[in-house]
Symmetry: C3
Subunit: 363 residues, 3 copies
């Protein structure tokens, strides 16, 4: 507790934690003030993200970067999962899918690219463990395929609804099984392949395990609560700011939803621990694709008004495919410079620009 207070004193960002209760109360008091709630929720998510980042680093310091990255991705994606489950219960399948696709694209392009750029501006050339990146790219490629097939078939032939649903269910099971096997591989049988390339230098003193885990859990909970306010307000606030729904779903929600992991990934990149950054960015993307998305398909049989399939809009599938190929190209060498970050971010900007300008009905 003392350490937490010390942290609060040293890190002015954490003062923003005051906005956490403010936004939760404001949401009760005036649930219609969308633009206000939007601003408040962003202000509240930022310090929670910073807290989460420090707690995760403390755990990671004791478990190795790869496991730390996995942990971080798991907890970070709780946010996305909670949001998506809420939307699923309300039957908002469009929003569920947009947030899944947007999270995959944002994590593989923006989070990875910005990590490369921020790390590269400080360090001339950075090295990272490419085995982990290669495995994650393979997982993402498989997941992309599993989204592509139902999408292509339902596109080619509208009368295949029942078949697409059955196929989605089967593919969802295959994806979850592959994800489980990937954990066996990275945490058990071939753990040593995921050891960090650069072990980092003198670190800040990490928190004790108990405090770190408790902070992780609590921060995640509050991120989830505040994120919900954010999602409810963002659509209407965005319209007020003149953004298209496609841009909001894919870019804004994904950026704020991933803020916690991004803070960790960027901090690690600045500290020349790019293994952790790449692990968070690509691990988070593949976890959403191979775990969150298929779990939502299965859950839709229980809590949704009707079963949800794995088919997406053609444009979303192409974006996920391009994001996967880009991430694979950029991580294949195991080395990075600031320009690799620029290239990755430019691919993201290309998508963002398209979505921003897209006429509302054309997605």
């Amino acid at each position: 507790m003392k350490q937490l207070l010390k942290e609060l004193r040293h890190n002015p960002v954490l003062w923003l934690l005051a906005f956490v209760p403010v936004v939760l109360i404001a949401e009760r008091v005036s649930p219609e003030a969308h633009t206000l709630l939007f601003v408040l929720s962003v202000l509240a998510i930022v310090p929670l993200a910073a807290l989460l980042s420090h707690a995760t680093e403390s755990v990671a310091a004791k478990t190795g970067d790869a496991v730390g990255g996995l942990l971080n991705a798991t907890l970070g994606n709780l946010t996305e999962l909670v949001i998506a489950i809420t939307a699923l219960g309300a039957g908002e399948y469009m929003l569920v899918k947009a947030s899944i696709a947007g999270a995959i694209v944002t994590n593989t392009l923006f989070m990875l690219g910005a990590s490369f750029l921020l790390g590269g501006l400080k360090h001339h050339v950075q090295e990272f463990n490419r085995v982990n990146a290669r495995i994650q790219a393979g997982l993402l490629f498989l997941a992309t395929l599993a989204l592509m097939i139902p999408s292509a078939i339902s596109q080619a032939d509208a009368s295949t609804g029942g078949f697409t649903q059955k196929l989605s269910l089967l593919l969802a099971v295959l994806l979850i099984a592959t994800y489980a096997l990937s954990l066996v591989f990275s945490l058990k049988t071939h753990r040593e392949l995921f050891a960090s390339a650069a072990s980092g230098g003198a670190e800040e003193a990490p928190w004790p395990m108990g405090l770190a885990v408790a902070t992780l859990a609590l921060s995640t909970l509050f991120v989830a609560l505040v994120s919900e306010v954010f999602v409810e307000s963002v659509q209407q606030a965005a319209t007020a700011f003149g953004m298209t729904p496609a841009f909001v779903g894919f870019i804004v929600v994904a950026l704020v939803g991933g803020a916690a992991e991004m803070t960790s990934a960027f901090a690690a990149a600045r500290k020349n621990r790019l293994d952790l950054s790449v692990g968070i960015a690509m691990g988070s993307a593949s976890q959403i694709a191979l775990f969150v998305a298929p779990v939502l398909v299965l859950l839709s049989y229980v809590i949704g008004p009707s079963p949800m399939g794995l088919q997406f809009w053609p444009g979303a599938v192409v974006m996920i495919l391009v994001a996967t190929i880009t991430a694979s190209m950029m991580t294949t060498g195991g080395r990075s410079t600031w320009f690799v970050g620029v290239l990755t971010l430019m691919v993201y900007l290309t998508f963002a620009a398209t979505l921003y300008l897209l006429p509302p009905r054309a997605l």
Copy 2:
């Protein structure tokens, strides 16, 4: 001869050789008993495959893994070629193309993936010569392109029939020329690049060259004879078992047709000679794509009722493309573990599941 008998005594699988004459006689006696003939022909192919595997290993032991792999692929694909020529003579172009596409996909995904998995379950990390894999992936990519262009054009514009046929002929000649040059490259000018990474340890005593070659030739002949019975019976037996025609053409025929090479590839993977496995799997796929398929196009002018082109269904082209990309991704590092096998097999399972569930008319 003595060695052959000794082999028979040690390897109970070879007792199944008794089914070879049985299936050939049964086919004469009751050609309508499709389900019986199907079961008998599978039982007869398995021991022939095992025999072929041992003979090929004996030859490979004296010629180096890469050449052995090439030899194996050449002889293994005689089966596919004989089947396809029979179908070609009967004007069954649909079956010819399904068996070509299925063989490419099955060899690059199932044979390669299962080799990685079986080898990886026994050995922690396996290394292999990635130069060979890279050349084969390049050949497959070129072949995929040569199938994609006529398919896309005949898809976009149905009135381009004559043009598609002329283009297919020209592309077939380009593919055969490239294949011939690849043999000059791998067997003559740059032979040393194809040397094995790991030279294997103590092997079983290989057969003398004469016995090995004779066994190779005879086994291949019988595999061809039995395969024909198999192909005639499989379609109707499959319907009896409730499988779609697409599933039978792409998966079942390809799995049984490639059984001989698979036995060799899997045995080599278990013995930590992954060079041989990768050589068989990818060499076989590229040989079908760059040699068998274009030869069939040329032969269709001589023995077919009408010229056959290189255009395929869009779904088949996509599967071949994805298989090529997957094989390229998985072999690029020159190292493998069991999970690489799982990933490759999952891509195959995704296709198999889709074909299994696909409504009959939708391919």
Copy 3:
């Protein structure tokens, strides 16, 4: 000057320089003799290309291969830029786009493949700096994406004209910004990564800087002048020779337009300076994609009859995508042999054969 004359005496190709004034006069005298002007212009471009090649090598000898390659690509592409600006002023947007797409495909496939083949026939295995190739492949991938998106959207929905134009403008700015950053990266912050792998052996004595730069500038000017005659005559001469417009636009114009750079690239490959060859081929392609093409989009607002967008025919986008993937695959290892050249050229031949046989209206 003395050195230039000595060069003229030693290199009989340069005697063809006499055709430069001949073609320029012939164009004034009989502007309708298209076939004659076509032959004369090709005869005049060849020696100019040789001169340009030698001058560039002289400059490159003093600045390092990577910078020399960049210089070469810049000056070589002046030709393409001048041709395209003339066509732009005349409102011939179809020709502008065909020459852009053709130049990208020809540089990445023909120039790169022929360099590998010519170098590989003389040297057993050649090494080159793969960092440069990887950066250029990344740039090309981004540019392909920027062409793909407007093309796909204008294909899917014809009513999105205004949107496509706005998007093209924004993407053009992104591409130019990325290109500028890539120059900062390769010439300033990470210059050392672009140093040559093999520093070449004893060279011919290079020209002094002043003469080299003057020759570069003058040759480029004359190449531009003669190229214009060539472009005006080629379409009708080609019809006389029985070639389709698509084949002329993509293959013939691009081959002759890139003759200067090709001479340099091939000469460097024969001298085992593959860094220079790869730098010219891929640098030229990425410069056309990320600099020439977007500059033309911006210029169309000033000198064109109406704004030009970045959308291309689907077939052209697919060719650019396949060319980018092929170049990326072939350069990823940093080593090359003659067969890598054969594979790359075969992809080019596949496209050339398709365009040659294509019915006029089908592109």
